[in-house]
Structures are given as C-alpha cells and as structure tokens.
C-alpha cells in the first residue's frame, strides 16, 4: 500500500530527538506516499499528539504517566460515547494530498481545516487526470438521486475512451492557450498565449490538483464519518478509507471508540425508538400508529433484520 517516492526527499533519512509525544504507528508511515485512485496519493507530513494527548487534555491537571493504559482506554470511550469532543481537538495531523479537482471541491467544504493548494495562477498544472476503473463506472442510481448504482456498467468501453480523449483534448487546449508545448516550452509561432490564471479554465474537473491539509482529530473524525460513509461518492471515499487506516495507526484507542460509538452506531428517532421498545415487550406498534414516514418505516424494519 505504501510506496517510496520523490516527495520523501530524504525526509526519512534521519531521526531527530524530541521531548514530545510520539505515535510509533504513525512514525512508520510518515512522509511515505500512499496511492489513491489512478494518480492520487495521501502522504502524512506531520502530526501532533496521540491517544495520550486526548486523555491528558481531558484530565487537564494530571500528568501523562499517572494512569494506566486500561484507564486511558475507558476514558477515551467515555468521551466518545458522550460526545465530549474538545479533548479530541488536542491532536493534530497534516497531510499532503493529490486529488482530482471534483473531489477537492467536495473536500474543501470541511471548513475547520487549514489548506495550501497548488496554485494554477502561479504554475502550470501537470498532465494528470482521473479516469475511473471500469469497476467504478455505473449508471445513475434508481433510488438515490445523488448516487450511482452498485453494479458497474456492462458496456463501458465507449465511456473510458470518451473520458480519456476529452481529457487529452482539454489539456491540449490548455497548452495551446498558454502557447506552450506539453513540456511547458514556449512555442515560437508568432502567437502570445494567455495568462495561466485564464488558461486553466479550459481544464476539466478530473485533472489532479494537490494541497497540504491540516486539521485536528475531532474534525478529522467528522470528515471520516461523512466521507467514509457508503453514501459518499466513491472517489472521495477512496481517500477517506486510506485516512481511516492512518487514523488507526495514529490513535488506535480513539479509532476503536470511533467505530463503536460513531461509525457503527445507530441513531433512532423518538418515534422509531418507541416502535423498537414496543416490539421488545410484544405489543407491536403498526406503521399507521408509528408516526414514521414510509421510507423511515422500511429502513427501520430492514435494519432490524440486518445481521
């Protein structure tokens, strides 16, 4: 899953001593590029704190070493269960991400983060664009207005060809507008190209951009809850799933509590909770009495049967 590459730039050549908290799990991954989609990646650039940082903030005046790990685990589960979120803000992570622009447009909606993005006003974007695997090409979902079907398209050759050709053409137009060759060399044809900030408008949304993204653990978990969800678009979910693995390496106790109390938890509305409780004592509430909408009823009945 992890590959070495240029971005490491010797960053893993020497270890430096520090008095700070160290996450041994995350140190293993630090600076390594983790591939996502066809040309994207995630690379952890820096971090601050670990599970103990969460515990330490919750205890405030307690020193790090004064409690056993078993108690740390219990405290973290308590905090997660009761949505005491502020201690989870006390750990921080910074990643370098390469991602298609249409994914970046979803990602940036998470506002409580710091971002520095590659500037296409300042530099020329590389010729790298996203084309889905055939397995991820699917028709519009019949019952989800903002998603795709699970089963891939039977006939996908024409789609893949079209996406590739159009992206090639889009980049060729970009070069023509800049009046440069694909290698970025100015073409001597008597023409003057337009500014980079203008030419970029010709690129399509599947071209890759990259950025540094920094957020705290609490906001990272919010991101993961929304973006590792099956309703999230596959392309951003691919990043969220790698980030889940990174989170597990970084803060294993927090990750376990997150799975138990957030990712795997079920929230029942006031009316749905009444239906469940009545079933348990054998006097079932009917759909008509329930106050649930048809869709809520169907989803609840299906969830109750789910293994």
């Amino acid at each position: 899953m992890v590959q070495e590459n240029d971005f490491e730039n010797g960053l893993r050549d020497d270890l430096k001593p520090t008095y700070r908290a160290v996450s041994i799990g995350l140190e293993e991954l630090l600076h390594k590029t983790i591939p996502v989609l066809d040309h994207g990646f995630i690379r952890v650039v820096d971090y601050m704190g670990d599970d103990a940082a969460v515990v330490q903030a919750a205890r405030v005046s307690y020193g790090r070493g004064t409690k056993k790990v078993s108690e740390d685990r219990g405290l973290i589960r308590y905090l997660m269960r009761h949505s005491h979120t502020t201690p989870f803000e006390m750990a921080e992570i910074k990643i370098h991400v390469k991602l298609p622009i249409f994914v970046a447009r979803q990602w940036i909606r998470h506002r409580t983060a710091s971002v520095n993005e590659y500037s296409a006003r300042y530099s020329i974007l590389d010729k790298e664009f996203y084309v889905p695997d055939a397995a991820n090409l699917a028709a519009q979902s019949a019952n989800n207005k903002q998603g795709r079907e699970d089963a891939p398209l039977a006939d996908n050759g024409w789609v893949l060809n079209l996406l590739r050709e159009e992206a090639e053409r889009s980049y060729a137009g970009y070069n023509a507008l800049l009046n440069v060759s694909e290698e970025g060399m100015v073409i001597d044809n008597g023409r003057v190209g337009i500014a980079r900030e203008l030419a970029r408008m010709n690129l399509s949304l599947n071209f890759y951009t990259q950025w540094y993204w920094k957020t705290n653990l609490h906001n990272l978990l919010n991101f993961l809850r929304l973006r590792a969800d099956p309703h999230a678009q596959y392309e951003i979910r691919a990043y969220a799933e790698r980030l889940l693995e990174i989170t597990e390496k970084w803060v294993p106790l927090t990750y376990d509590a997150f799975k138990e109390y957030k990712l795997g938890a079920v929230t029942l509305s006031a009316s749905a909770w009444k239906v469940v409780k009545s079933q348990l004592v054998g006097k079932s509430i009917s759909f008509d009495e329930s106050g649930l909408s048809q869709r809520e009823w169907t989803e609840l009945m299906s969830a109750l049967k789910d293994e």
Copy 2:
C-alpha cells in the same frame, strides 16, 4: 445594472411589516439580479441589521434611538480605525451567486461563511460557460508570477474561438456520458449513461455553478479587501466590485469608514516608517541603511511620489 428575472418569482410583490432594523438602501436591491461577467449574477436574498446594528452592539446596553447619527458615524469610524471587529459581526447578509467554477474555487477559501451550492450529483448542470471579453484576455504578467498584463492581447480571435469550441465540446461530452440530449432527454440508442456525479468530471472549469452564500459584515469586508484588490484575478474582482456597491447601499457609514481605514489605508513596515520619518526631518536614510529589500524600497519610493 439591475435586471428583473425569474429568480425574483414574485418576491418583490408584497411588503411585510417587521419590528426589525431595515436598511432602506438594501431593500431597493433585494431579490433583484445584478449581472456579473457574461452569464453570472449576484442577488441579495436576505440581510440582518444595518449601521445601527454595529453601533448597538458596540454600546451593548444602549438602545437604538438614544444617540444622534453624527455620533454613530464617529463610533463606526473609531471601531474601524482600531480594528475592533466584533461589532461588525452583528450584521449579516445572504446572497445568491452564479459564478464560473474556477471563481467558486477561489471564493470558497473564505471559510467563515455558510454555503449551499447547486449539486451536480443531484441535477444536470446547464450549458452555460464563461468566455472572457476580448478586453480581459491578456498574457502572463512579466513581473507578477500570478497575474496577467494590463494591456489586452492584440491577437485574440483564436483564443476566443478555442475557448468556445472547447466548452461546447466539453458539454457535448457531458451529455454523451449521461446519454441525454442537450435538453436533458434520455437518448434511445441502446446505451446506458453514467451517473451524474461521474459525468460532471468532464466539464471544464469555466462552466457556471451557483450557490447561496451567507456571511457577516466583518467577514464580507475581509473578502472585499482581498478580492476587490487590484492583485485579485479580474473574474472574482468583478463580483467583489458589485458587492462593494451593495455594501455601500446597505451600510453607508461602515462603507465610508472601510474606504478610509482599510481599502485606502497604507501600512508601512517598522523600517519603512523610519525612512519616511527621517525624510520628513530632512536627514534621509539611504537604501543601504534602510533595512528594506530592493523591492520594498522601490515600492515605497513609488508610493511616496504617487498622487
């Protein structure tokens, strides 16, 4: 500058009574679409507060009518001058904006705002794309790595043609991927199109999107300071300039103070201020003694000569 259109939808047909503060200047503009660029617009959808709301918050326990307008003006100038920014957070505005995607990507970097954007996962985007006026087509700036020259391109016909043809083609590819006609009708050709969330990746960055954007007056002024600046890209500046006019109608006292103490103000570094003061008493500090970089020195000397 203002045109009626569909979005008004009868919203200006009836006036309702309210006990709230009312900005007469902004009521005139409410719901009207103000054109920007070739297909974009700004439309004020709602607002809360006026100049008096700023004053009221600054005085906290003072009622609205207890002071004269002349004192309100002085207080607003005092607050702006000393960067006492919290009272300016007490007024709020909500606008509906139609804008090219590459402009939306710059705009969204202002994080302290609320946004609801048209979803291309849920609906098909219209065939509307931005092509600059010939007057705004320019070469890469020679001395600003992230801008364009002031003078427009002499030879621009090929650029305009290329941008139009490529956008047409980009939209045709989008339709083909969805397997729909330009009117959005499914084409009966035996093919199954891909989901909207996938097809959109073929669109270029000059296609228009739209959103509701809501922010407070303090953050609006920050936006304007950065985006109405000559260094901002022309296309977002076009929106910022309309917003400046809207701000003037809404909160005229705040607008005047903003021009005097922010937009038109000059900040001198510690070293530059020493140079200016020494010149005033006739014993000039030389470039070598100044501690300024070459660029800072040139800019200071030019600013001092500027009429």
Copy 3:
C-alpha cells in the same frame, strides 16, 4: 412570561415594511425581555430567515413559493434526519442576554457565534447577583461527579444567607476599590481608587453581566442539544429552555424535526444495537457476551424499560 421593559426603548412602536422573509411567531416576541433566573433575561434583538430559508437553501435554485408547506415539512425532516446541516446555517438570530458570569463562562465555549459583552473595563457593573431559589439548592450528586442531586437541600437557610451576605460584601469591596459609593459617586476621603479593570477582580462569579449573542440556527440547535439536556447545569438550562420556546415560535417545522431526530432520538453503540436486535428475535445476548461496560449495560436495560 414576557414583560415590557427599558430595553424596548420604543423599538416596538412602529412597524417598517420589508421584502424579506418574516417569521410572524418571532415578530411577536421581538425586543421583549423574557425573564430568566432572578435577575436575568433573554431578548430577541433581530433575526434573519425562517423555516422557508432552510428549504430555499436546500433547493438552491428553486423559488420560495413553488412548493407546498407539506413538502417543506418533509424536506426539513429529511435534512434533520440525515444531518444535512448546512441549510440550517442559512437562518440567523441575535439575542441580548443578561446572565451570571459563571453561566457566561459555560456559554462562551460555543465558539461559532458573535459576541459583544458589557465591558467592566469601561463601565461599572451594577449591583445584581444571582442567588438560587431554595428549590435549586442541592448537594453534590452521589453518582454524577459534575452535577447536583435532584432533591433540594432540606436545610438551606444558612446557604442562602451566606450567598447573599458574601455577594453584598463582594460588591462593597468593589465599590471601595473604586472609591465610589453604591450609586457610583466618587467618595471624598483623600483616597484614589484603582482602575475599573482591576477592581472587577473582587466581584464573585454570581454577578450578572450581559451581552449580544448572534448565531445561526444550526449552531443554536447544537447549543440547545447540549444545554437543554438534563445533564447541563440548571442555571444555563434555564436559558436554554427559554431559547427552545423562542425557536419553536421562530421556525416551528425545524423545531418539530429537531425534537424528533435530535432531542428525543436515541443513539445506540454498535454493540448495544446488536443486543437490541438479538432480543427482538428472542435469543438474548448476555452482559458477558455484549462487549458493553457495566454502566452501558445498566443504562441500556433501563432505557429499554423506560416508558
């Protein structure tokens, strides 16, 4: 519940016409002071938007009048149920609050709000301090380390006397440090008092302060979920309960959805959900098999029995 008072200052004397959305329910309350605790209050100063503003943002390009109220209700419930929170950011409220300093210290932890507080550096604080009703004086809770018992103290006279005497004394010390009489007049005794910013440190945390507080509907609901909760300290809950009533008047559809999907909802951890589902099919998971802590198990069993 509502009383007229000085702060209204004629603000309800005249109605002005507006093209904006108007909440008839909230207009009735606007500017009126709603008493809380012994000397506190909440007063709605301004607002922006209503239930329709939430719907409008969710639909973005749809006009206000195009859908029926029944569909608005369904959409708002859908948004609330699925935690699509951004449309709820599109409505805004501003309130004037008078509250004890120790309550203000809890309240201010909600960061996504705008605040202008009465400045005790600038002005002298009034002699107003909070003393609980006898009904709200209780011993430290035996099973909640950060709460009090439900039953009030049997013997409370000494407590009430102590609190009153100490607050009187605290204010007398404040006056002495300022070298002013209780009416704020300088005392001619040859002494020079200390600055207001210093003297205030002698006041106790039950003295009242006041502020303007402005937030959007989404963040207001977050505030209410935490502060109208039975685990919140009674004194801040008293404010949250008034705010719940205000919210119901302002955005009745959102309020109903909030009760159904947030306030009255139940969240079960992954393990607890397994226990419930196994009970429904008659093959109960025991405590030992459940993976729940003793406390979680007890709470779940008690919740299932709860009528």
Copy 4:
C-alpha cells in the same frame, strides 16, 4: 525565567526519535513551567512544525531541503508583508496555562483555538488568587476609558489588604458552602454542603483557573498583536510577553518578520497618508483640510515626531 515543577512529571526524562520537523529552540523549553504573575504559568506541552513548515506549505510541492535558509527568510518576510496568512496556519502549538479567571475571560474571546479547562463542576478549585504587585496598582486612566494610569498608586496598602482579605473570605465562603475544610475534608457538623457547580459562584474573579490551549501560528500571532499591545490590560499582557519569547524560540524567522511587518508597522488612513505625502514635498495640508478628526491629527503629529 524557567523553573522545574510538578507538571514536568518526568516528561523531560527521555528523548524519543521522530521523523517530524523539530524546533531545537522550543525543545529546550518543552514541559518547563514559565512563571507569570504571582501564581500563574505558561508551559509548552506540544508543538507541530517550525519556520520550515510555513515555507513548505507556501511552496506546496517543494521538499524541505531544496532551498537555502536565506531564501526561506525572504519567503517568510514576503508572506508576512503581504498578509498571505494560510501558510502560518501550518504550524501549531499547545500550552498549559494557569491564569486568573478575569484574564481567562479575555483570553477565551479568541475563538479559533481549542481549549480544555479545569472543571470546577468536577473538582474543587485550589486556594490561589491573584493580587497585583504594588507597581501595577493604578488609578483609572484620565484619557483612556478602558485602562489605567501608567504611574502606580502612591497609597496602595489599603488596596492590597482589601484584595487579600476579600479573597481569603471568598475562599472561606466557598469552603463553607461545600462544607469542607481548607484541605477539602468534609466537616462533620450535621450540615450538607451544596454541589461544587453551585459553590463556585462565590469565588471572586481573581482566583486562578488553568487550561490547555492549542492554536496555530497564524492565530497565535493575532493573539499577540492584540494582547502584547500597550493597550491590552497588564495582566493578560504579562502572558502575551512570555508567549512572544516562546514564539521567538520556536520560529525565529517568523518572529522577526512579525516584528517588522505587524508589531512595529504603522497603518495610515487614506487621509493621513495624504498629509504625510504632502509634508514630504513641502506643501503641508492643514488640519482643517486634512479630513482627520482632532484625535487622529494629534496622534499623527505625535507619531511623526516620535524617535
């Protein structure tokens, strides 16, 4: 300036290896308590990044080692000068602070930070309160409505006595309400004390609290610009000044740029800048022609004379 104490708890006993950026200057200070006021302190608990982190984010795709330090310095000064603030968000610091409650109330107004405070609902506060040095006791300022005179009070004995006696009494009342001895032992007198969350309301605002506070470098500099300013109340300025020293150790290049372009910089309004430029060419604008208020004119003339 630095003293060892209990909070270190062996945290400086062993160095661990890391692949992260390390600030040698800040490692020296890590975990050590730096005294502030009579009983307060600042203790750096953790940090992320250094000057190079700022540079790295600005360059995005450039690796750490590729540029010389001289170029880093130039880039940081460029970013600071032009208020390109996002790269400064890429470094983070976490401190443990002990501070009087009235200082905490000012500090918390900086919203873009994470905070975990000692809970007086959960635990009993120690008997530690702030009493100013005689040198910092001063009368209300004659020309600054929210400050104190520079010269200390001649007659201060009665003030110091009053503050001490009142704080002692305040804490005795707190103990009485809890029905505990000064050592926190329950007193066997037949009385039942009230809950901690209630008893705390009797404490005065000069009692010490403590918290973990975490923020990024950009927001730290904003805090310092406001709170290290001569107009800030002395008691919070005392903390800001220690934080300035910490910042210099942590990110020396950023610190220097901050002094040059922010702390030591001068901002002139549009009108004031015209006055200065006209003086430089020998044709002075008079006060009447200037558009400045009397106070602005006086301050400008005095600034120009200032050595």
